[in-house]
Symmetry: C2
DNA sequence: GTTTTTCTGTAGCGACCGCTAGACAAATAT
DNA sequence: ATATTTGTCTAGCGGTCGCTACAGAAAAAC
C-alpha cells in the first residue's frame, strides 16, 4: 500500500504495452504539471488537496494512488520544477566559460522567467514553502536554496584557482550576493515588478564583480 | 460589539484611572508583543488562534474582545513591527545626509537585526504573509514592501536633483536593488546565514553605487 | 464467459480551523 | 446592598483540513 507506485513501476508500465487491471483514466504527467502550477502560485500549505483534485481533474483516491500523500506529491513537483522551469541557473553554470558569465546569464534569464505570464511569477523554490506548518517541507526548499548558493560558490572558487578571478575574491560573499539577488528578484516579480525592471536590476548588480 | 475597543477607548482608559466593569486581567501590550513574535516566526496562516491564545496566555474570547479578529490583530502587529523592529530603514533615511549613506546603514543594520537571536530571523514584512489563503493579507505586506522601495527611490531622486548623485543615475533600478538586497538578506537570515556573512554581503552590494 | 487486478466515485472519518453564545466573575455607579 | 458594565471561562458552532473505507467499473488473465 505504501509503495504502490514507484518510478520503477512507471517505467515498467511504459515499456510493456499494458498492465493488469483497470487503466488510469488521466495522464499522470499532465496532472502533475497542474499540481506544479497550483503549488507554484499558492504555495504548499495554501494549496489544499481539495484544490488539487479540482485543478488536476481527478478524485482524491486517484490522487493518493498515483502520487502518495500531499507531501510526496509536493516533493515530486519540486523535483520536476528544478529540472524544468528552475533549471536555467544550472544550465548557465554548466555552459558558460566563467562564473561571472554564468551568474550574469542566470540573473538575466531569471528576470525573464520570473515575470513570464505563461506561469506564476517568481521562483517556486523561493516561495512555495515559507511560513509552513510542517518544518520538514520548509527544510526541503531551504536545502535547495542553500545548495544553489553553494554550487555558485564552488564555481567561483574554481575560477579563482584558475586565475580567472583575482586571488582576493570573496567567493562566499559573491555567491551569497547571487543568491540574494535571485531571491530578491523572485520576491519583486511576485510584488509586480516587470521584466525590464528586473533586467535593469540584474545589470547593475553585476557591477560588484571584480574585473577578470 | 464591532467597535468595543478603539484606540480612543484605550487612551481614555489610560487617562482616567479606571473604567466601568471588570478590568482586563492581562497586559494588552505584552500580549500583543507575544502575538508579534508568533506571527514573525511562523507567519500569518501558520499561526492559529489556538497558538495565539496559548502563547499570549489568554482565552479566545479575551483575544477577540481586545484585538478584534485574527486579521485585525495581525494588522496591528504589522503596525507595531514597522514602528519598532522594522523602523531602522526609515530611521536611516531620516538621519543620514545622503541616500547612499542611508542605504549603506540600512543594509548594515539589517544584517544585525535579521540575525539577532533575541527574536525570529529575517523581516516580518517580507516573510509573514507569503503563500496566504487570504489575498488581502498578502496585499497588506506587499504594499509595505513596495512603499519601502518607493521611499528609497524618491530619496535617491532627491540626491540626483541636488547633485549629490550623477545626473544619469537610474533611481528606479537602484531602489529596486536595495529592496532586493533587503529581501534576499531576510531570506538568507531565515536560511541560516550569520550576521558576519550578511554584513559582507551588504558591503560588497554597495559597490554598485556611483561615486558621488 | 469467469476470475483477478486495478482504478474511480461516493461518502465520510477524526482533527483542526476561526470564531462566538451563554453563564459566571469582578469591577464601578447608584 | 443592588444594579450595571465589562472581562473571562467552558463549551461548542459550522466549516475545512488531509486522508481513506468501501462499493462499483474497467481492464487483463484464465
Amino acid at each position: 500500500m505504501h509503495s504502490m507506485v514507484t518510478s520503477e513501476d512507471t517505467n515498467a508500465q511504459a515499456r510493456t504495452a499494458r498492465t493488469r487491471g483497470r487503466p488510469r483514466s488521466f495522464d499522470r504527467a499532465t496532472a502533475l504539471e497542474k499540481a506544479l502550477m497550483a503549488f507554484w502560485e499558492h504555495g504548499y500549505e495554501a494549496t489544499s488537496v481539495s484544490d488539487l483534485t479540482r485543478i488536476m481533474g481527478i478524485g482524491a483516491p486517484s490522487l493518493y494512488a498515483a502520487f502518495g500523500d500531499k507531501r510526496t506529491l509536493f516533493e515530486e513537483v519540486v523535483r520536476v520544477y528544478a529540472d524544468t522551469h528552475g533549471a536555467f541557473g544550472d544550465r548557465a553554470l554548466a555552459e558558460e566559460p566563467t562564473a561571472r558569465a554564468a551568474v550574469e546569464r542566470t540573473l538575466r534569464e531569471a528576470a525573464a522567467e520570473y515575470t513570464d505570464p505563461a506561469h506564476p511569477y517568481g521562483c517556486l523554490v523561493v516561495h512555495a514553502a515559507t511560513n509552513c506548518t510542517s518544518p520538514e517541507v520548509e527544510q526541503l526548499l531551504r536545502e535547495r536554496r542553500n545548495a544553489g548558493i553553494a554550487t555558485v560558490e564552488s564555481r567561483i572558487r574554481a575560477d579563482v584557482a584558475a586565475g580567472r578571478l583575482p586571488a582576493g575574491t570573496d567567493a562566499v560573499a559573491l555567491a551569497r550576493h547571487t543568491g540574494a539577488m535571485i531571491q530578491g528578484m523572485s520576491q519583486q516579480a511576485r510584488d509586480g515588478a516587470s521584466r525590464a525592471e528586473l533586467e535593469a536590476l540584474a545589470e547593475i548588480a553585476m557591477a560588484i564583480w571584480p574585473r577578470g
